[in-house]
């Protein structure tokens, strides 16, 4: 998109018109909209969009930060593999997420070779460049990220390369939020770029089962406001449908090639989500035919189910939209991005870090 177009999607006049429309949709009871994308939270917090919401409408971040929902078990496994002498390549945000005993960064301080990469493809290059070393890519992320990991698994990587797979799937997480006690969800703002891959149609089953409106939304301020207007309209009219408010990047069926790559490299299995627990059919395991690429098979490391949240930290509630960062007594005092206590303050898309950076709920 050209820069001028991007600015057009931040046009203040239209934002005011949306705000007015939102006011006209003011509900007569508390309505809670949940999004599951750190990038949505950034758009909402950075542009102060909560100040435009009518009274009685809350927008919360659920399990939308892939770094934050990575279980301590997967993290501990990465730390132990690194301490055994392998090169562990991970996205930058992963380095400071607390494990049971150590973060990857602390493991590096103890001499482990932990490297930051921007892409699965970069990790493969590290493997080609270090043929005498074992190189592991710590693969986290949702459906947006999994196709890249799949592509490198399927693309004949060098024999010293393997993947520690911890990818997670968004629709099962949304299903779970609908079923958790004390979590009120009246509508979902579905993540635009996950939906680029899986397609808007991927939410139909959820909508039918739970009669909850789902609107797929983009990431510019007007995209988000438009998505919220569509959700409030559905609620007012008693509809529960999937609506695609981001057609410039999302189709009904999604990206067939990317889905085929995921299907060829992975099979759907249970996954452990930090703060939520074990969810069936919510993660991606490397298929048996690619077992040589599976770091779990290659490295015998014993890991226990570690402590998921440090004492006092409310990440587990923040990750299921049961609490906002401001509900945590440690927020901004004992817990800051410089000295994070929980994973929601570490991940740059974690609700706590985003609220710390931009201020989540405007006090206008």
């Amino acid at each position: 998109m050209r820069e001028a177009d991007r600015l057009a999607l931040r046009d203040p006049a239209r934002a005011r018109a949306f705000a007015e429309r939102l006011r006209s949709l003011r509900p007569d009871r508390l309505v809670r909209i949940v999004h599951v994308c750190g990038t949505h939270e950034i758009a909402i917090s950075e542009h102060g969009l909560r100040s435009l919401l009518p009274e009685g409408v809350e927008v919360l971040e659920g399990p939308g930060c892939p770094v934050c929902v990575t279980s301590t078990r997967d993290l501990d496994r990465a730390v132990k593999i690194a301490l055994q002498g392998a090169i562990v390549c991970a996205f930058g945000d992963m380095l400071r997420v607390p494990g049971t005993d150590l973060t990857l960064e602390e493991a590096r301080g103890l001499g482990a070779d932990v490297r930051t990469v921007l892409s699965a493809a970069d990790a493969v290059e590290v493997a080609w460049a270090n043929p005498e070393r074992q190189v592991i890519f710590f693969a986290v992320g949702f459906e947006t990220t999994a196709p890249g990991t799949a592509a490198v698994i399927l693309d004949a990587p060098p024999p010293n390369f393997s993947v520690l797979a911890a990818h997670k799937l968004i629709p099962p997480a949304l299903e779970t939020l609908m079923e958790l006690p004390d979590v009120q969800v009246d509508g979902f703002l579905a993540p635009g770029h996950v939906s680029t891959i899986i397609g808007a149609g991927a939410y139909e089953a959820l909508v039918r089962r739970h009669r909850v409106p789902v609107v797929v939304a983009g990431f510019e301020p007007l995209d988000v406001l438009y998505g919220i207007v569509l959700l409030l309209q559905q609620l007012r009219q008693g509809r529960a449908e999937v609506e695609n408010a981001y057609p410039r990047a999302v189709t009904e069926e999604g990206n067939a090639r990317a889905l085929a790559l995921i299907e060829a490299a992975f099979e759907v299995g249970p996954a452990r989500w930090r703060g939520i627990g074990n969810l069936p059919a919510s993660g991606l395991d490397i298929r048996a035919e690619h077992a040589t690429c599976d770091a779990v098979q290659r490295f015998e490391v014993r890991v226990e189910e570690g402590d998921e949240t440090p004492p006092g930290c409310r990440c587990a509630d923040v990750l299921v939209a049961r609490a906002t960062p401001a509900d945590c007594p440690l927020f901004g005092t004992a817990c800051t991005p410089v000295a994070p206590v929980g994973p929601c303050m570490v991940g740059s898309e974690g609700a706590c870090q985003v609220w710390y950076r931009y201020g989540g709920r405007p006090t206008l």
């Binding site: 998109m1 693309d155 408010a245 990047a249």
Partner: protein, 76 residues
């Protein structure tokens, strides 16, 4: 981390494109794209992989969508 950014392709070699990020040139793999692209096209890139080709006029279409909704008297 799920953010994908629209970037312009300045060169294509096999399944790797060079994209212009404004500040630097970066590479984007095309394996997961499933659409033909050429120099000058815009693609959404996430973690080093292009995931969708973008229509350069898409923002205008989006604005049209917004304006239609604002013009309607639905809701309120």
């Amino acid at each position: 981390m799920c953010l994908a950014v629209p970037l312009k392709i300045v060169a294509v070699e096999g399944n790797v494109a060079t994209v212009d990020t404004g500040a630097v040139r970066a590479r984007a793999r095309l394996d997961a794209l499933g659409e033909d692209v050429e120099v000058g096209d815009y693609v959404l890139v996430h973690a080093g992989f292009a995931i969708r080709r973008l229509d350069p006029d898409d923002a205008q279409e989006t604005l049209q969508l917004f304006d239609e909704m604002l013009a309607s008297d639905e809701g309120g």
